[in-house]
């Protein structure tokens, strides 16, 4: 997968290739290592939205996502000297978000029920369908009914613009697992789509 490392990212402002460190990122890390409080504020201004979005995608709960994001900043500060600069800063940060969010999910029982992979049964009524754009609706339902692990892969690749390798690093799993999760997500979403289409008829 040599193409995976090439980076014209979907949503990223920077256009550098994945493996070079933008000087801003290095500067942020050095300032955090030196104990500069403003580095945390700048880091949050730069990446806060993406970190929070990922946390929210994983936890599906704004309050938990807030805690996760805050803890991520704290962990990043405390472990700044462990960042060796062999990957992008955003990928390292998302790795911390992922680890923190998974811990939060595991310690809160109600998440486990929600995370179970079920096809939503309460499909919209015809009246509702008229109001909601159907093609939006099935994707949303489909994504909701995926497990956090599967949602995570899609989020990392489509929104965060991570390569398959980087996604594997964030998820702490082999790249093969990333691929098989993508393949599973495809099957699952296709299932939701066809069921929704049947319902429409």
């Amino acid at each position: 997968m040599q193409t995976a490392d090439l980076a014209i990212h979907w949503n990223s402002q920077e256009t550098q290739p994945a493996m070079t460190q933008p000087t801003d990122d290095l500067d942020l890390i050095h300032r955090m290592q030196a104990g500069d409080d403003d580095a945390v504020r700048d880091l949050y201004a730069q990446y806060g939205h993406r970190l929070y979005a990922y946390a929210l995608r994983l936890t599906d709960d704004p309050a938990t996502a807030e805690d996760v994001t805050q803890n991520t900043l704290v962990t990043a500060w405390r472990t700044a000297n462990k960042f060796r600069g062999d990957g992008r800063l955003i990928a390292w940060l998302l790795g911390i978000v992922h680890h923190t969010a998974m811990k939060a999910i595991r310690s809160t029982p109600q998440f486990l029920d929600e995370a179970e992979e079920t096809i939503p049964e309460n499909l919209p009524t015809p009246e509702e369908q008229a109001q909601v754009k159907e093609e939006k609706r099935w994707v949303r339902d489909g994504l909701q009914s995926l497990s956090p692990e599967h949602r995570a892969v899609l989020e990392l690749i489509f929104y965060q613009g991570l390569s398959l390798n980087e996604a594997a690093d964030v998820l702490k799993c082999p790249i093969g697992t990333v691929k098989s999760r993508l393949s599973y997500a495809r099957q699952h979403l296709r299932g939701v789509l066809s069921r929704t289409e049947e319902n429409w008829r």
């Binding site: 803890n71 093609e135 489509f158 993508l182």
Partner: protein, 289 residues
């Protein structure tokens, strides 16, 4: 190249120009890939649309910095210990501090007057034992109900008070010892300090433990009796008691053995701390209330 992956990277805009062009060529005649592309485009659109609508909370960097600058565990433990000690300091009767200091001054004066250090040997442990019987239980604690209503466990409260009172007792006896330098040579100081410190530790521990189980006055009576017994001369009670003399000698040796006194003293303190939360002690407390 596997199309299933290719299509995802294409939809996620992660292919370089060459790969992109090649794939678009393939796409025109492959219905499977076209269907998948629609699927992934919908996913990408939905994820990007919903994520860009997510408002990142404004104050998170500052609240993270608050956590970062929170004192660490040790500093927090020290601070809460300090708070506990200050709180207990206020609860212990003022008379206890003043009274034991006054007694110490009287016995010090007596010791200096008769030029006998034994006076202090005898009374310093008794003063200490007397104070520790007054630190726990509803009969001594004006805020007993409050004390037991706080989330701090009883043994911590007891330990805090014991620490305060013991430190004060050692301080008092230490000051008296310095004053006694008027009548003892400086090189005897170490032995002298050990001479009162060890019995003081054991007698206080014993009195504390007894006060938890049988009340302040009973505890004081028994502790003082046991302490004084070593000075008893059985001969004066008549020939009849003479047979007990060897045992009395052993008993006296115990009070002169610092290692034994410290070991048993600390064991008694541990037992007292353990029993501070026990039912029997609670029960006695409720009777006394």
């Amino acid at each position: 190249m596997n199309h299933e992956e290719q299509i995802i990277l294409y939809a996620a805009n992660q292919l370089d120009e060459q790969a992109r062009a090649d794939f678009e060529k393939h796409l025109t005649d492959c219905a499977d890939c076209q269907a998948d592309l629609l699927l992934w485009r919908s996913v990408a659109d939905e994820i990007n649309a919903s994520d860009s609508l997510v408002p990142a909370p404004a104050q998170l960097a500052d609240s993270a910095l608050e956590v970062i600058h929170q004192p660490n565990k040790l500093a927090r433990a020290l601070r809460s210990t300090g708070q506990l000690l200050r709180m207990q300091m206020l609860i212990i009767h003022n008379e206890l501090w003043v009274g034991s200091a006054a007694l110490m001054v009287i016995f010090l004066a007596m010791a200096l007057l008769v030029e006998r250090v034994e006076v202090l040997y005898f009374f310093a442990p008794m003063i200490a034992a007397g104070t520790v019987t007054l630190i726990y239980g509803s009969e001594n604690d004006p805020a007993a109900e409050l004390t037991f209503a706080t989330p701090i466990s009883p043994w911590k409260v007891l330990l805090a008070r014991l620490t305060l009172v013991s430190a004060y007792n050692v301080l008092l006896a230490g000051c008296a010892t310095l004053a006694l330098l008027l009548i003892i040579p400086p090189q005897a100081l170490g032995e002298f300090v050990l001479g009162w410190l060890a019995p003081m530790t054991f007698l206080s521990a014993l009195a504390l433990m007894l006060s938890l189980w049988i009340g302040t006055s009973n505890a004081l009576f028994i502790a003082y009796l046991l302490w004084s017994a070593q000075y008893a001369s059985l001969i004066s009670f008549g020939e009849w008691f003479a047979f007990a003399s060897p045992w009395l000698e052993t008993y006296r040796q115990f009070w002169k053995n610092p290692a034994m006194l410290f070991i048993f003293g600390f064991a008694l303190i541990v037992f007292a701390l353990w029993s501070s939360g026990r039912d029997q002690v609670q029960w006695r407390r409720s009777i006394a209330m």
